[in-house]
Symmetry: C2
Subunit: 198 residues, 2 copies
Amino acid sequence: MSVRQSLLAILDQGPCYGYQLKHEYDRRTGATSTLNVGQIYNTLERLERDGLVRRGEADERGHVYWQITEDGSLEVARWLASPVVRNSTTRDELAVKLAVAATLPGTDVAAVIRAQRVESLAQLHALQQARYRGESAGGPEELAWSLVMDSMLFAAEAETRWLDRVEERLSQHPATAFSLALTTERPKRGRPARVDAA
Amino acid sequence: MSVRQSLLAILDQGPCYGYQLKHEYDRRTGATSTLNVGQIYNTLERLERDGLVRRGEADERGHVYWQITEDGSLEVARWLASPVVRNSTTRDELAVKLAVAATLPGTDVAAVIRAQRVESLAQLHALQQARYRGESAGGPEELAWSLVMDSMLFAAEAETRWLDRVEERLSQHPATAFSLALTTERPKRGRPARVDAA
DNA sequence: ACAGCCATGTAACTTGTTACATGATTTT
DNA sequence: AAAATCATGTAACAAGTTACATGGCTGT
């Protein structure tokens, strides 16, 4: 939900051709994650389908310029004016995973958390390194890059602190507390044994 | 990428029928976000297609029980053993949005940030309220719920702190610094005017 | 009888993402 | 000439999500 809108916002600055859009997007997001080129053309076609963009003629060099429409500009304005809302439908993969894992009787939740912490800390350190390395220059691309890096850093920090919290809370509870019975209403005559390779 | 795996993990505890799976998922994730029932059946069919799950006979009450396969169990084990990795392809919608917005010349980035902060703070306070309300009981479902709530809280806190940071950094830079030229290589004879309603 | 939940399913659609084909231009 | 990059596009798929149809069962 952000590639589509970002490309549209870039087009709102003036027509671009596909390959150019890719570079613009990469630069403006600090090149921390680069787009697969193919996605540009897909997205453009979908934007065209939705009437937010119009395909222009190719210039003498064969570059196909795309223009934003009025609807497209309105959409950009709406996008910029409205906040990103992280409502109840925005599921965080890790949180869901740990919540589910904590309720699976036969599971070593502590091990799951340890594995995650290794990864999260590695990520955190890698980010700190990268953040430090890229501190110097002051160009606008550097700035975009550092914004995105900071975002990842803050998120990684929050994640590790949350992991600590979860571990702490889980250690205070008896392991059996998480053995949720599967039955909202289960057939009395035990579960059928797991069957494989019929 | 977490609904699919979560359902599979629940099925690893024993066969379930679809509607039951929905309730299990909702309970185990603290009912902070509930699944559309239809998604259960879609996901089950996709899991079946991938050989991770097998459709059993319906019982006398018409409940269609699903069983996990050996491949499915392996997949669950792999899921639990491997961390959630937030690599470069994991784009954060808000970070991308602000990075892009900051590089759009005609844009009032400060306004975008303000709008976002209103939302983020509202979210933060709502979470704190909800978190406080649900503090009491100590059952396992409560615990799952509080884990997810904490995760959202930590993330919301990090987000607001990051917003402060971004605002601070942007205010230190002259607004013109963000007027990135669109041209990696632009046709010399200016941009075609935006055309609408051909 | 009627409302409402239980339960299964289908069809469509969204955004994101990748793999591949194809040719032009540029660089070495 | 070969290799790399520029540039456009196509085809397919993944995962999530919703809307809708359909019927059974339950409580009032």
